[in-house]
């Protein structure tokens, strides 16, 4: 196959290469991508557009949809922010300190990647529901977590936990020890060294972790619905609204909400990525 495909494929849009199989492999990935991802997403946009501008506007500005978007995006951002703080601490502890069970803890950080979201969802519900293991004592103190946005927050923290740790950890591990030593010899306090020498180079990775955690959390469904309570206008997330529309066979309505979610999150992710690129430039990664 190699010779023929190579000659055919060697248009101006690609550099000649002796490595064969470009046509075949490129064909497979583009076909699969189109069938599984791109055409279906195009159908989503098409369906949403079929709703007509007035209907779209009415739906997009309805109180229930706005409220759900606010909950989904607001709680996802908050969860990502909390994950930044604790992710940094966890990455620092894993890279810098030695303590019994460190390797086990390191491996355990990835649990949210491996544990099915529905399992996490019912486990969190069993913990934080008003009659749950933690929920019951908290209820006695007058604190409600389960079936409130706080419950959603718990689920989204769980889901996003590994992202910040795993993006920051390698950067911390590869940081030159001499940087801190130079700062100390130049008279900087430990705190000054951490804030002005150690932290700045880590910031782009932190922002990447934040973006990944947010992107994952904003569309999350499985771990949330069991603990959210799904009370309209209070603890209802946007993906659930899509579900409800579908059950009412309102395909267009579901598609409109879906497109709205995608647009909003893409704008946010794009903004975060631009910020990250700007930060990298500022930090001298030229």
């Amino acid at each position: 196959m190699s010779a023929v495909v190579r000659r055919n494929g060697a248009g101006a849009w690609r550099e000649r290469s002796v490595i064969p199989g470009f046509g075949l492999s490129f064909g497979i990935i583009v076909t699969a991508l189109s069938l599984v991802v791109l055409i279906p997403l195009a159908a989503l946009v098409l369906k949403a557009a079929s709703a007509g501008p007035e209907d779209i506007w009415a739906l997009a500005t309805s109180r229930r949809v706005l409220s759900a978007l606010r909950v989904s995006f607001g709680v996802a951002l908050l969860a990502a922010a909390i994950n930044v703080v604790f992710g940094l601490i966890i990455a620092w502890v894993l890279v810098r300190y030695d303590f019994p069970g460190r390797r086990l803890v390191d491996a355990a950080v990835d649990l949210p990647f491996a544990l099915p979201t529905a399992v996490a969802g019912i486990a969190l519900a069993a913990l934080y529901a008003p009659n749950g293991w933690i929920g019951a004592p908290l209820a006695q103190l007058g604190i409600k977590v389960g079936y409130t946005p706080a419950g959603i927050l718990m689920a989204l923290i769980f889901i996003g936990l590994p992202f910040v740790v795993r993006t920051v950890q390698p950067v911390l591990a590869e940081m030159e020890a001499e940087l801190e030593e130079a700062a100390a010899l130049l008279g900087a306090s430990r705190w000054k060294t951490l804030t002005s020498v150690v932290l700045p180079p880590v910031l782009p990775a932190v922002l990447t972790g934040f973006t990944l955690a947010f992107a994952r959390a904003v569309g999350e469904y499985g771990s949330v619905i069991f603990i959210a309570g799904n009370i309209p206008m209070v603890s209802e997330i946007a993906p659930l609204l899509i579900f409800i529309r579908l059950e009412q066979f309102d395909y267009a309505g579901a598609a409109v909400i879906g497109v709205l979610m995608l647009l909003l999150s893409f704008i946010l992710i794009l903004g975060l990525n631009l910020l990250q690129a700007a930060l990298r430039r500022r930090l001298g990664h030229v």
């Binding site: 030159e176 030593e181 130079a182 700062a183 100390a184 130049l186 002005s196 930090l283 001298g284």
Partner: protein
């Protein structure tokens, strides 16, 4: 800068350091005068960087003391030691501009002793002039060449008006041409600023050319300290003799003040010791002689160009390694020719 008064003597007393089971330093004592430029020279793993890190306070000795101006350094915090250190990797803060890097130590001072921002800026400019990089304030380290980075690292270390300047393989990461230029420049800078300076190197040429005194380390021990001439001309140990410059090693028998090879005297050893010994002869301390005139008798295996002169490799009967012999006369022995070798200078050490 009249750094001469600010420079202090450094005294190292019996410093030892173990890492796990590995003894990196085995009791080193060394006194450095104020304003002196001393090279710590040794092969990989000899402990020279460990010693530098002990002096900097980045690591602690298991035994022994380090005194700055007579004060035990252990009581001093890293800040109070006022050490200017240039790391081998330079350790520039890559997210800061050149100016911010140099100003870092001044800005890190507690508010009471921190100079005003205008003065900091002025001092950064003066330091950049000193290291001959004027106008590069706004650059980031990634926009500099290796030699420029090294000078920025030096300016940053000088900014805190250090009492001692420490350089870890200052030219290690640079290519040969830049190394040579920077070497002369650093010597001139030292003469101008007068800091007590220690630098680590594994390059004997660098140490001999640059330093007031050279301290040669091997395997965690100090082999010899002295001026470049002293250590080169009068090596105290076989290691120093072999490490400094090129030297041919010839195993000999010592008897009655003579070094015997194959039963015949080849060199007058002086000291009246007996037993096995080692004779070290530099390539320019051989003269060709007629075959059979001396015990060092062999044939020319090879003649090659070696800078300004030519050098022969002579395979001598009874020696596993061929001897490097400089050829001074225009008439060179031909390859394969049988020759004798006379030793005109060398160093003899007792023991195998």
């Amino acid at each position: 800068m009249s750094a001469a008064q600010r420079s202090v003597p450094v005294v190292i007393e019996q410093a030892s350091r173990q890492f796990g089971g590995f003894a990196a330093l085995k009791g080193i004592s060394l006194a450095i005068a104020p304003g002196e430029l001393v090279a710590l020279l040794g092969p990989s793993g000899s402990g020279k960087t460990t010693l530098l890190r002990l002096i900097a306070g980045l690591d602690q000795a298991d035994q022994g003391r380090i005194l700055f101006d007579g004060v035990d350094a252990d009581v001093l915090s890293l800040r109070d030691r006022r050490i200017g250190m240039v790391f081998q990797s330079y350790a520039l803060f890559r997210h800061m501009t050149v100016a911010d890097n140099i100003a870092f130590g001044l800005r890190a001072r507690p508010r009471r002793t921190r100079p005003p921002e205008s003065e900091i800026r002025q001092r950064v400019g003066a330091l950049l002039d000193l290291v001959q990089l004027p106008g590069l304030e706004a650059r980031f380290p990634s926009q500099l060449s290796g030699g420029q980075r090294q000078r920025v690292a030096l300016a940053r270390a000088l900014a805190i008006e250090p009492r001692v300047l420490l350089l870890d393989e200052p030219f290690g990461a640079l290519d040969a041409k830049v190394r040579k230029d920077l070497r002369a420049w650093l010597r001139a800078l030292h003469d101008q600023t007068g800091h007590t300076t220690l630098f680590v190197t594994h390059d004997q040429e660098e140490a001999l050319e640059l330093a007031d005194r050279v301290a040669i380390l091997n395997d965690g021990l100090l082999e010899q300290v002295g001026t470049p001439d002293a250590v080169y001309d009068h090596p105290a140990t076989a290691f120093v003799c072999g490490f400094l410059g090129e030297a041919n090693h010839i195993p000999v028998e010592l008897k009655g003040g003579e070094a015997l090879f194959d039963g015949s005297p080849v060199f007058h050893a002086g000291a009246n010791t007996s037993g096995p010994g080692a004779l070290y002869v530099r390539p320019h301390h051989f003269r060709f002689d007629i075959p059979g005139a001396t015990a060092l008798d062999g044939h020319v295996a090879n003649v090659r160009r070696h800078g300004a002169i030519r050098r022969a490799e002579v395979a001598v009967r009874g020696l596993a390694r061929k001897l490097d012999v400089d050829i001074f006369s225009a008439v060179a022995p031909a390859v394969g020719e049988r020759v004798g070798l006379r030793v005109t200078g060398g160093h003899v050490f007792a023991g195998a």
